[in-house]
Amino acid sequence: MAECKLHAIAHARAGDKGDRLNISLIAYAPELFPVLREQVGEKELAVLFAHRHPTSITRYVLPKLYALNFVLDGVLDGGVTQALNLDSHGKTLSYRLLGLRVDVPDALLKFAKPR
C-alpha cells in the first residue's frame, strides 16, 4: 500500500450553477475506480471544504464512467454574481479535491501518474 494524492490516480473538473458547485472525479484507469469509490466520500469532501461551509454534499456514483460526481451546495459565497473571490466560479476547486491523500494498493501503482 502506498499513500499518494488523488492527482496521481484521478482527474477532475469543476462546474458551477449559482451557489452550487459540482466536481467530477474520474479514475485514470478502470482498475483504480474502486480506490475512489471506497476512499472518497461525502465525509472526506466535508473535511476538505469545511471552510466553505457547505449546506449539503451529495455523491453520485457512475461505475460505467469510472467516475464520481460531487455536488456541494452553498460553497460559492452566492456564486459568480455575488462572490468577492477572484475565482467566483470555483473553477480552481477541482484541484483542492485532487490534493486529497488516499491509499493505493501496490498492485495498482502501475496505473498511477506520471508515468
Binding site: A12, D16, T81, K113
Partner: protein, 453 residues
C-alpha cells in the same frame, strides 16, 4: 429519411477563438454528410451585458464578435448546405439577423434566415408572469434582463420553414444541437430516449473545445498536443440518437477522459439533467474510444421534460472594486497581511471586503476569510513575491471608491516596500433564477429571405 448527421461546434462562449469555426466547416463540408454548426455564445450574465449595450444603442445588443465569427465561414456554409444555429442574437436577435443578412448580400449569396424571439420577459406580459412566479423578484427599476430558456421547438419550426441560419437569444445550450437533429430525423416531441441522447450530444458540444482537449491539460499527467490550435468538436449522430464525438483537424484530443470530464461538466444528478426538451439521464452511460480522436457514448436515455421553464433574472448588483499592491522579499506575506488589516480598519462601514494574498492564498478561502485560520500551514508561508488583493462590494459607488482609495494610500502609509498598485472599479450584475409554467411562454419565429435567389 436521413440516416446520420454531423453537428460541429463553432464557439463555446462569447470570447472564444475566432478562427476555430473554419476547420470545423471544412471538415463538415468535405464529409458530404448532412451537417450543422452551432454557436453557443451566451453565458449567464452575457445576456444582461448585451441588454445594457442595447439600452445605449438600440441597433446592438447581439454578440459583439458576430461578424468576425461568421464572415469567413458563411460562403462554405451556404454553398455546402451547412445549417448555422446560434444564440448569438443575445439581447437583440432581430439586429443580429440584420447584420447576417448584410454579410450574405456582401458575398452575393441568397439565404433564408430565421429569428427566434419570445425569451425576453421584460415586457408587461412577461413581468406579470414573473411577479406571479418569483417570490424574490427585485424592484423592477433594478431589473436589467429576464430571459426564459427556450427549448428546441422554435428552432425546429424555423428549420421546417426552410431556414439555413437560425438566430436566437436565450435558448438552452443543448437545444442548439438537438433542434437540427429533431428536424433531420423527425423525432417525436415525447421520444424521451432519442431526445435525451441528442441533448447529451449537444451538452458535449456546447462548450466548444472543452471536450476536445481544452480546459484539460495538466503537464506530465494529462498532456494535450498543440493546444494553440485545438480542433473544435464534431458529433456524429445516428437516427436512433446514438452518437460519437470527434474533432476537426488541428491540435487537441478526444478520448475517454476528455469526454467523461465534459459529460459530467455542470451536471448535478446524473439521472436528471434538466432542459426544456427532456430530462436526460447519463446514470448508465459509458464511453468507448474508437481511435483517431473519436469516442462513442452509449447508454444515455431520457425521461419526460420538466413542466416549468427556467428564467434567469439579472439586476443591478451595485459596485465591485478591486485594489492590489505587491510585496517582495523577506517577511513579504506578513507585510501584505498588515496592509490588509490597515485597509480593513479604515474602509467605510457597510462595505463587503475580502482580502487575499496572491502567492500565498487567494482562491481557496471563503469571502468571510475564516479559512486563514483553518488552513494553517498555507498561511505561514515563506513566499517572497506576493500581492495583496482587496475586493470591495457595495450599493453606492462613492463608498466603494473610498475603500479603493485606502489601497492606493498604502503607498505612503502602509508597510515597507509596497509597490505596483492597480485599482479597478466596475458595476456589477447580479442574477437569480426562477421557474415559470411552460404554457405561459410563447416563442415566435420570423423568417426572412435575403440576397440573390
Amino acid at each position: 429519411m436521413v440516416g446520420r448527421m454531423l453537428v460541429g461546434s463553432g464557439a463555446g462562449f462569447s470570447g472564444d477563438r475566432l478562427d476555430a469555426p473554419g476547420a470545423v466547416v471544412r471538415e463538415l463540408r468535405s464529409s458530404g454528410e448532412r451537417s450543422a454548426i452551432i454557436f453557443e455564445t451566451l453565458g449567464e450574465r452575457t445576456l444582461a451585458l448585451a441588454q445594457l449595450r442595447r439600452r445605449v444603442d438600440p441597433a446592438v445588443g447581439y454578440e459583439p464578435k458576430l461578424e468576425p465569427l461568421l464572415r469567413s465561414i458563411l460562403p462554405d456554409c451556404l454553398d455546402g448546405s451547412i445549417t448555422i444555429v446560434g444564440n448569438f442574437g443575445a439581447a437583440n436577435p432581430p439586429a443580429a439577423t440584420e447584420l447576417i443578412a448584410r454579410l450574405v448580400r456582401q458575398i452575393s449569396r441568397y439565404a433564408r434566415i430565421a429569428t427566434v424571439t419570445g425569451d425576453d420577459m421584460l415586457g408587461p406580459a412577461g413581468l406579470e408572469i414573473l411577479r406571479a412566479c418569483c417570490d424574490e423578484l427585485p424592484n423592477e427599476k433594478l431589473l436589467v434582463s429576464a430571459n426564459v430558456y427556450l427549448g428546441a421547438a422554435p428552432i425546429v419550426e424555423a428549420l421546417g420553414q426552410g431556414a439555413q441560419i437560425v438566430v436566437t437569444g436565450r435558448v438552452a445550450d443543448p437545444s442548439l444541437t438537438l433542434a437540427p437533429l429533431i428536424h433531420a430525423f423527425g423525432w417525436q416531441e415525447d421520444d424521451w430516449q432519442r431526445l435525451g441522447r441528442g441533448t447529451m450530444a449537444g451538452h458535449l458540444l456546447e462548450c466548444g473545445a472543452q471536450v476536445s482537449g481544452g480546459y484539460y491539460a495538466d503537464p506530465g499527467f494529462k498532456d494535450v498536443p498543440a493546444l494553440e490550435d485545438i480542433g473544435y468538436p464534431i458529433a456524429r449522430i445516428d437516427a436512433d440518437g446514438s452518437f460519437a464525438v470527434g474533432k476537426a483537424a488541428g491540435g487537441g484530443l478526444v478520448d475517454r477522459r476528455t469526454v467523461t470530464e465534459q459529460l459530467l461538466y455542470e451536471v448535478h444528478d446524473p439521472a436528471a439533467y434538466l432542459t426544456p426538451d427532456v430530462t436526460a439521464d447519463i446514470s448508465n452511460a459509458s464511453v468507448s474510444e474508437l481511435g483517431n480522436d473519436w469516442v462513442r457514448v452509449d447508454g444515455v436515455t431520457g425521461h419526460a421534460r420538466p413542466e416549468r421553464l427556467k428564467v434567469t433574472v439579472c439586476y443591478d448588483g451595485g459596485w465591485l472594486a478591486e485594489g492590489e499592491i505587491s510585496y517582495f522579499g523577506p517577511n513579504a506575506p506578513a507585510r501584505a497581511r498588515l496592509a490588509a488589516e490597515i485597509v480593513r480598519k479604515r474602509s467605510p462601514r457597510g462595505l463587503r471586503i475580502r482580502c487575499d494574498v496572491i502567492g500565498v492564498l487567494s482562491v481557496l478561502a471563503d469571502d468571510a476569510g475564516e479559512s486563514w485560520e483553518l488552513l494553517n500551514g498555507i498561511a505561514d508561508s515563506e513566499a517572497e513575491d506576493v500581492r495583496l488583493r482587496v475586493a470591495f462590494a457595495g450599493a453606492e459607488k462613492e463608498q466603494v471608491e473610498r475603500g479603493l482609495a485606502e489601497v492606493e494610500a498604502l503607498y505612503c502609509t502602509g508597510p515597507a516596500g509596497g509597490g505596483g498598485v492597480r485599482l479597478a472599479l466596475r458595476p456589477r450584475i447580479a442574477a437569480m433564477s426562477c421557474y415559470v409554467p411552460r404554457n405561459s411562454v410563447r416563442p415566435q419565429v420570423h423568417l426572412r429571405e435575403t440576397g440573390d435567389g
